[in-house]
Structures are given as structure tokens and as C-alpha cells.
């Protein structure tokens, strides 16, 4: 009997996290951090090599208290958001043109794919030479790195349309633009959002790499400064801030996706198949 009840619960809530699941997850983290703390202390590892979690936490608190980090966070966030906006817009427009017009596809797509083989990080120094130490080079770096996954997903998504839907629109004498607007674009949204989701996380990388190469502000710049000063605990604290930033941005994209693609969310009390 108990088994049957368990099965029923599982079918009602297939992916949900129970309180027990959260406890297991939290316990795992606590054990990991505890082992790290103990190992560092027991083996007497110098703080410049690997600081214990306790001093990382102290460092994080003092960095946030002093407020200095927020200016740099603002700079990096500006680069991420502006770069993501530029990269995503360019990827969407180009992707739509490539998916819609064969000539654009043949003219550009092979070269865009070939360009993707170039490690984007390797062109960061060039961007600094061309666009200077300011925001522009970082925004471009971010845009270039976020561009590709969004482009590919847009192209694939716009081409993955059921023939029936196209037939319906053809029978209604729909123009190419109407087919795009009424059918192709909404059908492609899950793909496009998958691209945006990858793109936003890559944007964080783009901004940090851009700052590594040449900058006087931003979290990436701050990482290098702490590195030079051998403030390793503070570097770990910055990594935590960067991870949190990435998770929040990813969450924002998912939130927007759920709002825009309301129809694909499972509906409570739905009327069955």
C-alpha cells in the first residue's frame, strides 16, 4: 500500500523539490565546505594557495560592506547587458534573414560558421586595439561571444515548422511576412529562448574576458587586482558574486520565457489531450 501511495505522489509532482530533497542538497554542500575547511586547517595550506571557506565568507562580507564592489559590478553588468542586447539583436535579425532568404543563407552562413571556429577569446586583444580600454571593447567582446548560439538556434527554430502550419497559411494566401509573424516566429520561440539562455551565460564570460585583456573597471579587472595582491579569499568572494550574477541573469531569461511563451507552460486543470 505504501508503495502505491508513493507512486501516486510522484505522478502528481514529477519534478518538484520536496523539503527532504532540499535538505539532502544543503547537507551535501555543508559536508563539502566542512571538509574543505578542515583539510585546509589540518594540512596547514597557506591562504595564498587555498583559503578556507570561512575566510572567503569573511572576505565576501567585507567586500560587500565596503561597497567598492558595487561600482565594478555595475560596470560589468552594463557590459553584459549591452553586449547581450547587441549580440542577441544581431543574431536574431541575421538568423531571420538566413532562415527566410536562401541567398543570405548561401552568402553568409558558411562564413559565420567558419568564424565560430575562431576562439573568440583570441580576438579580445584586437578589440581592445580597435575600440580602446573603455566599455565599447567589452560590449563588443560580449556581443561576439553571445552571438553564435542565438543565431544558430534562431535559424534552426525558424526552419522547424510543421508543414501543416505552412500549408494552412499558404491556403490563406499569406505573405512571406505573415507566415513569419503568425507561424514561424512563435514556433521558433522555444529554440530562440534556448539560445538566449546559453547566450546570457556566455555574456558573463565575454565581459570578464574583455576586462582581463584591458580595463580599468569591472569585476574582471578587480579579479586581476586581487590576484596581483594575492588576496585569494577576495578572489573567491568575487567568483561567488559572479556565479550569483550568472544564476540571476539565467533566471531572468527563464522568467521572460515563461511570460512570453505562456502557452507551453503546463496549465492547471487542463482539459486533457
Amino acid at each position: 500500500m505504501a508503495t502505491r501511495d508513493d507512486d501516486a505522489d510522484e505522478s502528481l509532482e514529477p519534478q518538484g523539490w520536496t523539503r527532504r530533497d532540499v535538505a539532502i542538497s544543503a547537507a551535501g554542500l555543508a559536508v563539502f565546505l566542512g571538509a574543505w575547511e578542515l583539510a585546509v586547517r589540518a594540512l596547514d595550506v597557506p591562504a595564498v594557495v587555498l583559503p578556507p571557506p570561512s575566510s572567503v565568507l569573511t572576505s565576501l562580507v567585507s567586500i560587500i560592506r565596503s561597497g567598492a564592489v558595487f561600482w565594478h559590478l555595475g560596470v560589468t553588468l552594463t557590459e553584459i547587458l549591452a553586449g547581450f542586447a547587441v549580440g542577441a539583436s544581431a543574431a536574431f535579425v541575421l538568423g531571420a534573414l538566413i532562415a527566410q532568404f536562401r541567398i543570405v543563407d548561401r552568402l553568409l552562413y558558411p562564413y559565420i560558421v567558419a568564424f565560430q571556429a575562431v576562439p573568440k577569446v583570441a580576438i579580445a586583444p584586437l578589440l581592445v586595439i580597435w575600440f580602446g580600454f573603455g566599455l565599447e571593447s567589452k560590449i563588443l567582446m560580449t556581443a561576439v561571444i553571445a552571438f553564435f548560439p542565438i543565431l544558430v538556434n534562431t535559424v534552426v527554430g525558424l526552419r522547424t515548422v510543421e508543414q501543416d502550419r505552412i500549408d494552412l497559411m499558404v491556403a490563406l494566401k499569406a505573405s512571406r511576412w505573415q507566415v513569419f509573424r503568425y507561424v514561424r516566429l512563435p514556433t521558433a520561440l522555444p529554440f530562440i529562448f534556448a539560445g538566449l539562455d546559453v547566450g546570457i551565460v556566455l555574456s558573463v564570460i565575454g565581459a570578464i574576458v574583455g576586462e582581463f585583456v584591458g580595463a580599468n573597471a569591472g569585476l574582471g579587472y578587480l579579479l586581476l587586482v586581487y590576484n596581483n595582491d594575492l588576496r585569494i579569499a577576495a578572489m573567491f568572494a568575487l567568483l561567488i558574486i559572479l556565479a550569483a550574477l550568472g544564476i540571476i541573469l539565467h533566471g531572468v531569461v527563464q522568467f521572460v520565457q515563461r511570460r512570453v511563451m505562456f502557452w507551453s507552460a503546463p496549465r492547471a486543470g487542463s482539459g486533457g489531450p
Binding site: D167, A171, R267, P273
Partner: protein
């Protein structure tokens, strides 16, 4: 009845280029459909019956022959024709009402007068109260009824249906057959129905076009002389059985029909 039929198909040919040569899908297919008439096409899989419908809908090009709708040669998709596909093909991001008025929007016709008509059709198919629901909230039969409303919203004279109830369970399908007969009798449309069910074809049609396969050709056109409105009591009627047997016999003992 005028001399001009709603649909006149003369010597229709369709060949596809395929690996290893051409495939003749339709050869010398000729038939007329009168105004307000209900005509069905039955035939084995691959006899090209769906191809005829897609050509009439302007989705597929013909290779030869002539088609006239209301006396005018058919060139591409026509405003006089509405289509129901095998699957409902509703847009999941649009409500029932928004799906029904899609043809009005796409054809850039004014929405205000279409609104009353759309709501009337939704009432006609028994979906009143579901106007603001999304397709995912509806059953298969309900979705197909929405698709029928969408086909009728621009008030086309001719309704093309491509195995519209093929994906439904037997009970829902019988119910939908009655619904379709009612909608047809109330709206007086010309209906051209593709089906693989002999029973459905005999039950609904004024005439049944029987096709053979490879290449698709018309074997016989069978007039169904049974009184209207028809109910399912008719299924046990001797005349109904005779029509069904006659059509089934066209395909010999081969189990080509489900």
C-alpha cells in the same frame, strides 16, 4: 441548379519527380461537385485523394488538366474555399476565438463584422464558453471543431476536408459525423470530403467518388440515394449496407480499409 458546378475538375494529372523517375500520383481525374452538394472521396492509401484536395486548396500545383471553381479557372489558393486538415493545425498561442478569426486577419478583412460570425460558428459547433480557452485545453474532437469554424469564418462557398476525423476515436468520430451533417445542412455549403472510412462516406455524402491507386484514377462515382437528415439508425438499414458493400467490393477482398 445552374450549368456551372461549384467545382469542375477535368483530366487532372499530377506527377512528382522522385528518386528513380517520376511518380504518377493522379491520372485523368474528372468530376464535378454541384452547389451545396456533399461529395466524398474514398480510396486506398496512396491513391492520391489527399493530393486532389491539396491541388484544389492551391497548396500543391497540378501537372495537367483544368480546374474551375464557380466557372472560373482556379489559380492558386481561392477565397471561395475553406479547408480542414487531418489534424486541427491550431496555433497553440492563440485562443479558440483567435484561431477561428485567423483567416480574417491574414486576408486583412475587417474584424468587426467577422466577430459575430466567428462567435456564431463557435456556438454552432457547440463550443460556446470556450472562446478564450487555448487549444491545449481542448480535446481532439473539440480542436477539430475549432478548425471547422476557422474554415467557415470567411464564409467560403466550398469546404474541403482531408480526413478530418481520422485521428479521433470511434465514438467521437460518429458524433462528429452527425455534427458535420448538421453544420452542412444549416450552412448549405458545398463539401468535398476525403476519407478512408466507407461508412463515413456513405453516411454523409450525396455522391461518393471511389478511387484506385497507382496511378490514382476514378473507378466509379456512386450516388447515395438515402433520405436526410440521416441518423445512425441508417447503419443497420439494408440500403446503407448495399452501398457500403458495393464500394467495398471495388477493392476486392484486399483489406485496404480499416
Amino acid at each position: 441548379m445552374t450549368a456551372r458546378p461549384a467545382v469542375a475538375v477535368a483530366s487532372l494529372d499530377k506527377a512528382y519527380a522522385a528518386r528513380g523517375g517520376r511518380i504518377q500520383a493522379l491520372r485523368d481525374v474528372s468530376f464535378d461537385v454541384g452547389h451545396g452538394e456533399f461529395v466524398s472521396v474514398v480510396g486506398p492509401s496512396g491513391c492520391g485523394k489527399s493530393t486532389i484536395l491539396k491541388i484544389l486548396a492551391g497548396i500543391v500545383r497540378k501537372s495537367g488538366g483544368a480546374i474551375a471553381v464557380d466557372g472560373e479557372p482556379l489559380a492558386g489558393p481561392s477565397d471561395k474555399i475553406g479547408i480542414v486538415f487531418q489534424s486541427p493545425v491550431l496555433l497553440p498561442w492563440r485562443t479558440v476565438y483567435e484561431n477561428v478569426v485567423l483567416p480574417v486577419e491574414v486576408r486583412r478583412q475587417p474584424l468587426a463584422p467577422a466577430r459575430e460570425r466567428a462567435l456564431g460558428l463557435i456556438r454552432l459547433v457547440g463550443l460556446e464558453g470556450f472562446e478564450t480557452r487555448y487549444p491545449a485545453e481542448l480535446s481532439g474532437g473539440m480542436q477539430q471543431r475549432v478548425a471547422i469554424c476557422r474554415a467557415l469564418v470567411t464564409d467560403p462557398a466550398i469546404l474541403l476536408m482531408d480526413e478530418p476525423f481520422g485521428a479521433l476515436d470511434a465514438m467521437t468520430r460518429e458524433h462528429m459525423n452527425l455534427e458535420l451533417q448538421r453544420i452542412w445542412m444549416e450552412s448549405r455549403k458545398t463539401v468535398f470530403l476525403i476519407t478512408h472510412s466507407i461508412q463515413e462516406a456513405v453516411f454523409l455524402s450525396d455522391r461518393v467518388i471511389v478511387m484506385t491507386s497507382r496511378p490514382g484514377r476514378i473507378d466509379e462515382i456512386v450516388p447515395i440515394d438515402l433520405p436526410r437528415p440521416r441518423s445512425f439508425d441508417l447503419l443497420t438499414d439494408a440500403r446503407f449496407g448495399a452501398y457500403a458493400r458495393h464500394i467495398r467490393a471495388k477493392f476486392g477482398s484486399q483489406a485496404m480499409f480499416a
